[in-house]
Symmetry: C2
Subunit: 354 residues, 2 copies
């Protein structure tokens, strides 16, 4: 029921997914029975693989998470996550209220291993493949241990989602030298480098490495990650607008754009933002779809959910999480204190431009 469009996007998405997924994959549809039935009637061949679970109530897109949580029992979102906990579904996919979905998922499914809170992960296209990027907004204040948890979760997710046997991991910073950045990233760097975790850690990376694909997984706190992601989305949107303006600025340009139209459409397709952000670290698989997702986007999110359900990425997260206490003990005391802000030399050495 969630997102900007509800069943009118979700049901066509299910129809698309069913067309490419094996017959063993079946769907529980949570929401208003009548609205769902109306959409289902437009898609032959779908009815045999879905089961409708009626719910009277929905979580509003604009509700504050804490408020939504209090009255969420029995909503379509609650029921979808509850079905994962009860083993009736292997994954939940929602285009609804992000904060509410996180709160409900954490309450119902609980965190896996000793993880503290879910992380929101996204996939960014690069010249070579995709970069797994987290956290993109679930955890605003992150200490070093939290950043290391993200590395563990992100690496297992990348292997599960993209079939890369040993993904490489980088930590987002303002420069690649050891002394760069604030205390938390430098401490996390030290744990990742010397803590004996089973990760192919490659050190610090910078903002422009996200789209360059120098490592498979890039880790940062949810404040920086959210702002970096939205900044890139904004830059991409701005460039698309400018390109459209340029290509309609003269008769010749318009003719040129017409001839290049198929190539430009493929370009636009490749630039579109990723359709789904999985919530990592829960005892169960939950994916958040963009509120404005198209049926094609939502179908893609369903396929990611199926891939994740087939993999044992939760077990991999747990395996590495078991090594974390030893890694933290080994690393202490933290390498080097933060440089004083008053010394112009040291202060400048934190400077990152260039």
């Amino acid at each position: 029921m969630g997102g900007d469009h509800g069943p009118s996007v979700v049901i066509p998405a299910v129809a698309r997914a069913i067309a490419v997924l094996p017959g063993s994959v079946r769907f529980l549809l949570h929401g208003d029975e009548a609205a769902i039935a109306a959409e289902l009637s437009k898609h032959g061949g779908v009815a045999g693989r879905v089961e409708v679970r009626h719910s009277d109530r929905v979580v509003g897109m604009d509700e504050k998470p804490a408020q939504a949580l209090r009255r969420s029992k029995g909503t379509s979102m609650w029921n979808a996550v509850e079905a994962v906990r009860e083993g009736q579904a292997v994954a939940a996919v929602s285009a609804g209220n992000t904060g509410a979905l996180m709160a409900i998922s954490k309450l119902i499914l609980r965190m896996s291993a000793d993880l503290e809170r879910p992380a929101l992960v996204t996939s960014i296209p690069t010249g070579r493949a995709v970069t797994t990027f987290l956290d993109v907004g679930a955890n605003i204040d992150c200490d070093a241990e939290r950043l290391v948890e993200f590395a563990i979760m992100g690496e297992a997710f990348h292997r599960a989602a993209h079939g890369v046997p040993k993904p490489t991991v980088g930590l987002l910073n303002v420069g690649s030298e050891e002394m760069k950045g604030h205390g938390e990233v430098r401490e996390a760097h030290s744990i990742l480098r010397h803590g004996g975790l089973d990760l192919d850690y490659r050190g610090f990376v910078e903002g422009d490495d996200i789209t360059r694909g120098v490592v498979d997984v890039i880790v940062t706190d949810g404040f920086t990650g959210n702002i970096a992601l939205k900044s890139m989305e904004g830059a991409a949107r701005f460039m698309s607008n400018e390109l459209r303006n340029a290509l309609t600025s003269s008769v010749l340009a318009t003719l040129g754009a017409f001839l290049a139209r198929p190539a430009l459409l493929r370009f636009r397709e490749r630039m579109s933002p990723p359709p789904a952000a999985p919530l990592l670290g829960l005892n169960g698989i939950v994916l958040k779809c963009h509120g404005g997702a198209s049926d094609r986007d939502f179908a893609q999110a369903i396929r990611v959910a199926v891939d994740l359900a087939r993999s044992d990425f939760s077990a991999e997260i747990e395996r590495n999480m078991r090594r974390l206490p030893a890694a933290l003990a080994e690393q202490a005391p933290a390498e080097g204190a933060p440089p004083s802000q008053d010394d112009p030399g040291d202060a400048a050495s934190q400077g990152a431009a260039e």
Copy 2:
């Protein structure tokens, strides 16, 4: 002497700048006399408006700032900044080592008013005009007071550089609601909103607002700012590459791109990163040019320096800085404690995706 190209870029840039600037604008060129003379001989009409100040030594592009600072006296960079302090020059422009330039500038010029450290500011193109964005890497750890200082400096800079009488100011965050973000941004928000500073403060903005132009000035800490800026640059570079691939993917696309070539070149021009980042808050004007700047970029940086020198933006910074102690007192105690990370409702309310 700095940057990737030295005099072979700087002298042609000076020639370009001289062609458009009034005759009263003159130049001191610091560096190796012979190298400068060789370049000057290629540009007639320039010699009458420049004066060469020989220096034997240069700051290396790869030197650590603290190390560069110790042996910087008598380098071309040192002499350029020293000339500003002595009133021989109204501004210094360098394409050299950023960290060293900051350290040397702070040491020689000292900070203006009660500012603590310089901020690096950049200009991002938007659909409407440009966004002034700071700090992009000089200050990694920022408390609320530092963020408010950035707002004061950025607003005065935007007025001086772009002639906007009353620039609007926003604070970068993961959402626009009051409860979003970490303690520092919420406290800065409260000071800016209720502290009685002479600023047109518009509240929180998000990452994609940087290129949208919803406010004139966007303020953030140097860690987030550097990563957001580089992420956008990376996204822009990635899109340009993909566009080039798309437009050479078939005969028709190539033909189309050929017809649209002038428009595509204008597009690329508009997307190029800003050539210079002024160091704000010093008793004097210092601009940092991209190390890889072209003569055209460097000429543009010179013009920005002249505009800044003609304005009284330093006086404006000082005027508002004098109100800061009262603003800090008025605002205390900070509005609301950070929400607990353990409560799933509040925790989720910090979530920012969507």
